[in-house]
């Protein structure tokens, strides 16, 4: 390339194909990606439920009973199951991606991907067991 080479930054006559609004349906991995991003809404949903639960708890036994009755209604139950499935998808996909983002080196050697995602899964199981123990104890 000569030093004086000149390029036009933009040429309106050139053809640039537009990206369709439905680009995320073009391949399975694109759809998976969009669903993973969307699953954050489910995570937010559970956070809001938790805040509402604490608020109901502060409102006394009557308010709390009303709150649990609402949670038990069929509509909210279906929403809860859907949100739970999304949260599972969220957790699994992110745990599987963790080794790509996190490179741990021990004595100059890269720790294998399985060890990184495995430790994430292990922490998930342990924390879930602790929560289950606290919930089921009483």
């Amino acid at each position: 390339m000569s030093a004086g080479a000149h390029y036009t930054p933009y040429h309106p006559k050139w053809y640039r194909k537009r990206v369709s609004v439905w680009w995320w349906l073009e391949s399975g991995s694109y759809t998976g990606f969009v669903l993973r991003e969307l699953s954050a809404v489910a995570v937010a949903f559970f956070a809001v439920v938790l805040i509402a639960q604490i608020r109901a708890l502060a409102g006394g036994p009557e308010a709390y009973a009303r709150f649990t009755a609402t949670l038990g209604s069929p509509g909210v139950l279906v929403l809860g199951v859907l949100a739970f499935l999304f949260v599972l998808f969220h957790a699994i996909t992110w745990f599987n991606l963790a080794p790509t983002a996190m490179v741990v080196r021990v004595r100059g050697k890269r720790v294998p991907d399985v060890a990184i995602s495995g430790s994430n899964y292990a922490a998930w199981v342990v924390l879930s067991a602790v929560v289950a123990f606290l919930m089921l104890r009483s």
Binding site: W14, K17, W23, S29, F33
Partner: protein, 181 residues
């Protein structure tokens, strides 16, 4: 080029691997087409230059002092990212680049990281400034398709996520009273 809708290094692709035809061959996606299968890659060349993909030294040491030495482990830290051949398949695989053409893109960020992780380089701060802005690494949402498309196993998606971690750590450090600004 795009082969049956997938970005492929056609000089290394065999017809026999494509199964029975017909085969659809298209110009590399998301780049303006000049003619037939020829695309204009000026955009990428500009972005590549912006991330300073060369060894930056605050002060060059005199030639008489010899080479900058490197251990096999130090080479290993960046070697994977240095395998990039600028084929631009990762740009074609990245829906973010298609939707936001101002995004610096996978290969340029991976190459920035290649020099950042080179023990001989001192330009990490300059590159961080370029890549921390709006069109830099934070535009990436980790679709991960660039890594799948890469024929050289560079793993641009990994490079970008690791870079985000470095950038976030740097930002936290600036919040500390004795942090480096």
């Amino acid at each position: 080029m795009m082969v049956n809708g997938e970005p492929k290094l056609t000089c290394a692709a065999f017809l026999s691997d494509q199964g029975r035809g017909p085969i659809r061959v298209e110009p590399l996606r998301f780049f303006p087409i000049i003619r037939d299968l020829v695309v204009d890659i000026t955009d990428f060349m500009k972005k590549l230059k912006k991330v300073k993909p060369w060894i930056v030294r605050e002060q060059e040491k005199p030639v008489a002092e010899g080479e900058y030495l490197q251990t096999p482990d130090q080479l290993d830290a960046y070697k994977q990212f240095s395998m990039c051949i600028n084929c631009l398949l990762c740009y074609s695989a990245c829906p973010i680049y298609g939707l936001e053409p101002s995004f610096v893109g996978p290969a340029a960020i991976a190459l920035a990281q290649r020099y950042n992780m080179d023990s001989r380089d001192q330009g990490a701060r300059e590159r961080l400034e370029v890549l921390s802005h709006k069109d830099g690494m934070w535009e990436c949402t980790f679709v991960g398709e660039c890594t799948k498309a890469c024929p050289k196993h560079v793993d641009p998606a990994g490079a970008i996520q690791q870079y985000k971690l470095v950038s976030a750590a740097h930002w936290f450090k600036t919040l500390l009273p004795l942090g480096n600004r």
